[in-house]
Amino acid sequence: MSLHDLLIAPFAEFGFLRRALVGCLALAVAAPPLGVFLTLRRMSLTAEVLSHAVLPGIAAAYWVAGLSAAAMWAGGMAAGLVVALGAGALARATGGREDSTLTALYLLALAAGVAMISVSGGTGDLSTLLFGSVLGVDDDALLLMAGAATLTLLGLAFAWRPLALECFDPSFAQATGARGGAWHLLFLALVVLNVLAAFQALGTLMAVGLMMLPAIAARHWSRQLSGMVYASVAIAVAASLLGLLLSYHADLPTGPAIVLTAGGLWALSVLAGPVDGALPRLFRRRHLAG
């Protein structure tokens, strides 16, 4: 098998693979920067939680409008925002911790979602929903994914400084009137948007894989926020490309294939990354003179 057969032929031959690639690249540019901010806010698991929380919204949309991508997006967005904002509001109103209210709400949403899907019957639809399918990336889905990526990049460009300030020193942000809370809400909305953008290609179970794994790996490539964001995007782009090829050649579902590839790149970063990597720690070079 030549290099051409291995790397290029699948995309040249099959239109659905090209569409999946374009969709995943859109995701890979937009989602990892959000993931970097999530890890910095110690909210690495929040994206995972939100990816389950969107389920009842999607199921409800399926009941009302059938397999319409736009309806599922609207439903998922509504359910995700209710859980994300509801958890924050409940925690502030009752003085509890946000992670526990979030857990309570998302478990409720997940159970309701699974119940709703099983009532509506189609198990085939369910497995597509859970594991994703490249065939699910039709033109509508592609437009939505690209639109989500565009919105995310625009939103992040505006929210960058207040978000960074809110992460680093929340009480300074509050005292100077940076309105960190409002930016945080916008940020959560973008996270939900990206989780939804991912579920057609990757499935709800894996939707956050392309957001979080590159973001977690990025810590090993730079000590600066901007450098971490660049590194995370590069890793996500590589994972999308290699993951789709793996999925094609090994006949695996796309979701697990892409996430496994991203996981491989994360493991490589942990081992060999220049910042706090395992190997550079093992083979220490002699200290500097000053």
């Binding site: 910095l40 505006f158 929210a159 400084r161 207040p162 960074a164 300030l165 992460c167 680093f168 020193d169 929340p170 009480s171 300074f172 509050q174 005292a175 100077t176 009137g177 940076a178 730079s222 000590r223 600066q224 926020l225 450098g227 971490m228």
Partner: protein, 257 residues
């Protein structure tokens, strides 16, 4: 136009900050209890008292970070941008991947906001502020690599750029070596000379007697407020030490005006 230019043109004149029956509490238990008095424009006041006496809560209330339960703070025309608070460093995420210069530039938030870019003038100001606290050459160093004392100096550099008229300092010399403390004290003296109102929480009474003209002795209830020597009399300090640190679980609703 840099900060010192502005200062030479017109002396800074913050408004007086008048407190009337100020009560700030955690839950329903008061941390600052019926405090009345006035921080005169350009005054330099040390807030002293035992642990749990409400010193930090008082500063946070003045900075607008803690809701007051009762009473009033009157400071005509004093907007949040004209007050700066140096918190205890422990509340910050020091593992955050950010360089020293970017932290200092946060002090220009009132001028730059969320979107405007920092031009050459702003970058120069940041470098000057870093040099002023002895952190020249640290511009691109990540904050995670600083020692506790260096981090405290970095926060002072950010305060320099905030250029605020009222500066609140919460234990500014904690974890700082003697030389750094005297450097930072020099910054405080300069601010005092420029006419800014300084309010600092401190534990070192010798330092307070030496450097601060006025003091407020707080033990949840105000014990004394005025010229330092009179405020820190042995009798007053004894009364402050009598404060019960624990909450009274059976406390009844306070009826005092």
């Amino acid at each position: 136009m840099t900060a010192p230019d502005r200062l030479r043109r017109n002396m800074i004149s913050p408004p007086a900050i008048t407190l009337t029956g100020l009560v700030a509490s955690h839950g329903r238990h008061p941390a600052v209890h019926h405090l009345s008095g006035c921080f005169e424009p350009g005054s330099m006041t040390a807030v002293v008292g035992p642990n749990g006496a409400g010193k930090t809560t008082l500063l946070r209330t003045l900075a607008g970070l803690h809701r007051l339960d009762e009473g009033r703070i009157q400071a005509p025309g004093l907007t949040p941008a004209r007050i700066a608070l140096l918190p205890q460093a422990a509340t910050m995420d020091r593992s955050f991947p950010i360089g020293c210069r970017d932290v200092v530039l946060q002090g220009l938030w009132a001028r730059l906001g969320a979107f405007r870019s920092a031009g050459r003038a702003e970058l120069t100001e940041a470098e000057t502020a870093l040099a002023a606290v002895g952190l020249g050459g640290f511009a691109t160093r990540p904050v995670g690599s600083l020692s506790a004392g260096q981090f405290q100096r970095l926060l002072f550099a950010r305060l320099l750029l905030q250029d605020a008229e009222v500066i609140l300092l919460d234990e500014p010399f904690n974890a700082v070596d003697a030389r750094t403390a005297s450097d930072l004290l020099g910054v405080l003296r300069r601010w005092h000379g420029e006419g800014r109102t300084l309010i600092a929480v401190l534990h070192d009474l010798d330092l307070v007697r030496r450097e601060f003209p006025e003091a407020l002795l707080l033990a949840r209830d105000p014990i004394a407020w005025g010229p330092t020597e009179a405020t820190l009399s042995a009798e007053n300090r004894m009364r402050a030490r009598m404060m019960a640190e624990a909450w009274d679980e059976q406390a009844v609703t306070c009826e005092a005006a």
